[in-house]
Amino acid sequence: MSRQNPLTVITPIRPDKLEELREILDYMKYTLENIQGFEERSKFKDLYEEVHYLRWIIIDDKESEFFKHKKNADSLKPKLVFSSNFDKSVGHHLDDLSTDKLASIQKMDGMAVYSDGHTLTDQIYSCCIGYPESSNRTHKTRKDYLRDHIVKVSAFYRGSPRRSVTQIKEENELRVRLRKELDDNKDKWKDLSAKEIHRKLKLLISNDHNITITDTKYRMPKNSVFKLCLLVLVIVLLLPVIIIWLFIVQFGHEKYDKYFTTYRSDIPRKNTEILEEYEDLTDGERPEPVQGFAVDIATTQPKKDMVINYQNQFSQLVDMKPGKVRLITFKAMMLFARVIIPIWYVEGKLLNIPTIHFARWVLFDDNKRVLFFSNFDGSWQQYLGDFIDQSGWGLSAIFSNTTFFPKTNWLGSTGFFSMKNILPKSKMFFPGGAYDEEHFLAWSRSTELPTNIWYSAYPDLSIKNVNNNSRIRVLLAKNLSEKKAKKFFELI
């Protein structure tokens, strides 16, 4: 069973190598998903088999549009952030990244070509401060370096807990196969009941030796009502402390903070344009493979006739508000997230948002800054809209501890009466913040950063698809009543 672990590694970049690193990440941007042949893919086999998502992103680059206007731009030291979601243990994953066997991707005559000689890790991390010199690069020294730079994840969400990349892919193949059987052999199913069709399909699949996923039993993770009750109980017991704390935050801090008042129309076009390009073009272009592995970099440029990608990523960097109260509040929220997510958000929805594959919060830099990364389905507008519609209170409680967030009211209930009937109840108790739609959208855009490399193992599947596929697999293995069989076929 997959653990779906997160890893975050933050390394300082050598100033003299910054330009080179930018270039490397740039030409590698679309290559990982575009490597096609079997032999070529085998050079990166461990990554393909284990990694759900990964991304590299350069932060604190004072020459970039996103940092050069910062007050402290001159004192910023560029860093490389690596973030991944993978099946094995952290140690194993570091091994996969550190092994001599990992190939690299070189640029040659406008082509991205794989090369056995150096590893991808060397190629990227030789641009970072403290990385072992070329004479001293071994599996062990690489692994030690990466391990030394791991930053702990403050909170982490999985949309399809316990499922490995392979399981997700095979369950999708199973679903495609079932759909095909239903579509191609209509006569076979004529006049049969749902129950009979289910039984026949089950038999057909179990006799097909190419499909092995159904040989093993699987159980979907379930939200635990019992544990949630316990958690509620604990919160009720803590309520006096929480209430006093809310007053402290509201009257001691929130009231005096500077808050975010910008509109979307105020955000520089340049920045949005860069972010939009990344949104459009992730796996989107599937350039023709030339000479085996080599990928023509020019063809990875935006094609004229391309619809935008089904999946997307979000990278955000914000500063904590100064002071212990804010830090404690933030950490308490992270603790709350760590506790409640495995209890109540294991069925594919985070705070009722049904479009997130993985999300993480990372407090770093001496507790002064927060990174938020997520992999989601659909467009930016849809994703951010979901945040407001479904979970504005949660976001406000977390992010109002960071600087320049839209004004949040921790004690709620302003305009209670005018809002009832129309607003989700949560908003009545916690107005402002993320519920301040226009400012929240502008805030999200203005704190977002472009991701340099983003890789997704199954870019055509939404998280709803992934969970639906698992449900199909589980139900196929069972003996179903007519009523249940009908429910089963609603999924396909």
Binding site: D183, A194, Y263, S379, L423, E438, K486, F489, E490
Partner: protein, 479 residues
């Protein structure tokens, strides 16, 4: 609770002008801005407003005006003030990102548009002229046109629109039935269909109870005293108040391909056309029968006539999509009380954050096509026209998230069968329409694209006051 200043709002956003069967939209370019402003000032008194009119007092003709970004620049609006407009309007419909998001690719690519595209004359002003019949409209147009040349205006293109009996469009389906009711507009309807004024009129609270991003005057120019103070941006004047954004897209309808596809998919074993099945499949894709009757109420047969039936919800009556498929155009464009997997009450809140006020008018030689009659003379289609205070959350969301993105509900590869299909899919990319039912869902494979986008633009549809204000801008050369 809400009151909209209807006499200041240009009418077309809240009034259908249903009695005015003929329209001519004139695209104008400004050649001399002072003259142009003078002329626009003279037509301000003629602009039709949004005050509700009794049936027997409806006017025979109507006039509205809207501005694209280049038009506001040409009138001399300062860049600082222009920058306060919403990003989609400022950037236009044809940026790389946006045309991909909207699915304007292949033969719908803006490079091959007839207007509004990158290779066309810039769109600046659009004059919307209406008449109860063609003659009335043409007479009004001639009256206005006689001044164009002397007023520094050059006519770039005319878009003539008409309305067919029973409000059918060329595919043969009754159109424009469901419209949201804007609170404070003097119109009423069931609660679930009502939205706050700020969803459609700038300067009022929207469905999030905040003021939508509204253009404001940051750099003082012209007679700013005409404009009200801004609710969204305290301390500045509101250029957007009582205005909204207007979206127009010229959509060619390939009625031949449409019915050929339906006929082929449903043909009898002897290859003859099964008219009934063909119409049923087309209706499942639309979500309404040709008469306009909704499938969720009449799943088996078209009751006929002309239906205005809009009083239906999905959660209690059709949660499984067995009557009206999840993937149907109707259900995607307004999921009502069955939004993804949310509760009834929440679904309505969420659905109503993504509504449009639609005003389609047809072009080309009229045809009300059917399985056996689908050879139009020349190009036919419609000018898809809609309004919204937030282009990104409304029009673009509908076009991408609910139409082009094939994964709503538990679907996998189902784009909107009417407006979301990719014309030239990647090799191996399947696009299907799923018809929910027992014992298992059926699919229609290899969907074809039945529409081509031939032009389009985003416009600012200002209040009558703001039109007057724009006329007071100093001559451009002085800027």
């Amino acid at each position: 609770m809400y009151t909209i200043e209807l006499e200041d709002v240009q009418g077309y956003v809240l009034r259908e002008y249903g009695n005015m069967k003929f329209s001519r939209f004139v695209l104008l370019k400004i050649t001399e801005d002072s003259q142009a402003k003078k002329w626009i000032k003279t037509i301000c008194d003629q602009l039709t407003n949004a005050v509700k009119v009794n049936k027997d007092e409806l006017p025979d003709r109507g006039l509205n005006i809207a501005f694209a970004k280049d038009g506001l620049t040409a009138l001399g609006l300062d860049k600082k003030n222009l920058d306060s407009f919403s990003p989609p309007f400022k950037e236009g419909m044809v940026t790389d990102h946006r045309h991909r998001l909207l699915g304007d690719i292949d033969s719908s690519h803006p490079d091959s548009w007839e207007w509004g595209g990158k290779n066309n004359e810039a769109v600046e002003i659009i004059l919307l002229v209406f008449g109860k019949d063609k003659n009335t409209c043409m007479a009004y147009y001639q009256e206005l046109k006689s001044d164009f040349e002397a007023s520094g205006l050059w006519e770039v293109r005319k878009l003539d629109g008409l309305t067919l009996p029973d409000n059918k469009e060329h595919f043969g389906f009754r159109d424009g039935i469901a419209q949201p009711i804007v609170k404070g507009s003097g119109r009423t309807g069931p609660d679930y269909n009502c939205v706050n004024p700020g969803e459609f009129i700038l300067g009022y609270e929207n469905n999030y109870f905040v003021f939508p991003d509204s253009p404001a005057i940051f750099k003082e120019q012209g007679d700013v005293n005409l404009l009200p103070p801004s609710g969204a941006r305290p301390g500045s004047r509101d250029l957007g108040k009582n205005g909204t954004y207007l979206i127009i897209r010229q959509m060619q309808e390939h009625v031949d391909r449409f019915w050929d596809f339906m006929n082929e998919e449903t043909k009898n074993t002897d290859d003859s056309i099964n008219e009934e099945a063909s119409i049923k499949l087309a209706s499942q894709m639309f979500g309404r029968w040709p008469s306009g009757a909704p499938l969720s109420k009449f799943p088996d047969k078209d009751p006929g006539g002309a239906s205005d039936d809009n009083d239906f919800l999905y959660y209690d009556d059709d949660r499984t999509g067995a009557k009206c498929p999840f993937g149907s155009h109707l259900r995607r464009m307004n999921p009502r009380d069955n939004f993804e997997h949310d509760s009834k009450e929440k679904s309505i809140i969420l659905s109503n954050r993504h509504r449009l006020i639609r005003r389609a008018r047809l072009y080309g030689e009229p045809i009300i096509s059917s399985p056996t009659n689908h050879d139009p003379e020349g190009e036919v289609g419609l000018y898809f026209t809609c309004f919204g205070a937030d282009i990104s959350r409304q029009f673009e969301f509908l076009q991408y998230t609910w139409s082009n993105y094939p994964k709503i509900k538990q679907l996998y590869i189902d784009p909107d069968p009417i407006i979301g299909v990719v014309e030239k899919p990647e090799e191996g990319q399947q696009q299907q329409f799923t018809i929910q039912g027992e014992p298992y869902n059926k699919t229609v494979k290899d969907l074809k694209r039945f529409v081509t986008i031939r032009g389009g633009a985003y416009f600012f549809f200002p209040s009558i006051t703001s039109v007057r204000y724009l006329c007071t801008l100093p001559p451009k050369k002085d800027n």
